[in-house]
Subunit: 139 residues, 3 copies
């Protein structure tokens, strides 16, 4: 039984989706795990994780436009605005998506489908350094 | 330490919720794991997973109606429509629900509550063959 | 390889967010696991889990107000109302948030970020006893 703990930082350039599939796959390979699973965890409450279509960029653009409408910035009834009009907005968008994802591994490979990518979803207008923690478990 | 990797395919008949609790429970039993956990992972970005009330079908009908309104098909500002008016809609509904779920196992039994079922949530109008990957881990 | 299975009950006083970070951390400590992960699972379909900013209570208040608007109680087209106008509402709010979360553990400590707390999100008006199941896995 093996646990491979890892972490990496990704620099974001403001709101949007940033693919991290490659970084996760590299740690799965480094772990030496054949069959098991990898937990991906984002250590923030104003960005989040999604597993999304990674072929056509318009799919992610539609997603981003949808979230702009679903949880608008500068919503008048929001009280938690100390860090700006994207403050509560960011937390709520995070809650509607994911903090953790777990992906099975078979024969050393994540069982992602053909069109699935793992993305960090940045909800803040300003650039940030974001920490992602990984735990790969298997024999 | 044991990892039982498994996968199954479920044929959907278009949009709706399809219970897969039985298929997951069968693999948990086959794994021989006493205490541990099972990861359920859907290998697609236009269908997703939910854990939902499995007694009264009207609960799921309300859920489905809600999603029709929250993320409507044929939304005018969607650009990603190559596969039809349910294309971006499907991806966004997936992002708002789950790709992975992890359920603790005690004494060989998933710790689902009395009314919890695991469902595949199909967001496409057309029938599809959907792949679900499982990883059961425990000593 | 070690699996530490645990469970606890939390009494809610109606709708709102209830922090459970301390209870989860106590079981992680009790497990003796150094590197691994903890799965947190809520055994209900009318309350859910979120990982949320735990410093300023207005952040959670905004979140709660947002959900009141996103999935209103007493929605006219809901059919599943046997238990009241918060019945389908509760299930849908649960589906939009999480049933399970998995958090990596390094050197015996959950890898939560500085401002992350784990919360049970109660969607029912009436007080309830809620069961949370945990599975801590590691060598």
């Amino acid at each position: 039984m093996r646990v491979h703990s890892a972490a990496f930082t990704i620099g974001t350039r403001g709101k949007g989706t940033y693919e991290i599939t490659g970084q996760v796959a590299a740690e799965v390979a480094a772990s030496g795990v054949g069959d098991g699973s990898v937990t991906v965890f984002v250590r923030h409450t104003s960005c989040s994780l999604i597993i999304m279509e990674n072929a056509d960029p318009t799919a992610r653009r539609d997603l981003e436009k949808f979230f702009e409408r679903l949880v608008p910035e500068d919503t008048p009834y929001f009280e938690h605005t100390a860090e700006g009009g994207d403050d509560s907005t960011s937390h709520i968008r995070s809650v509607l998506t994911r903090s953790s994802e777990v992906i099975p591994i078979v024969d050393g490979r994540m069982q992602l489908g053909n069109w699935q990518g793992i993305f960090l979803f940045e909800h803040r207008r300003a650039p940030h350094q974001r920490q992602v923690a990984l735990s790969v478990i298997g024999p």
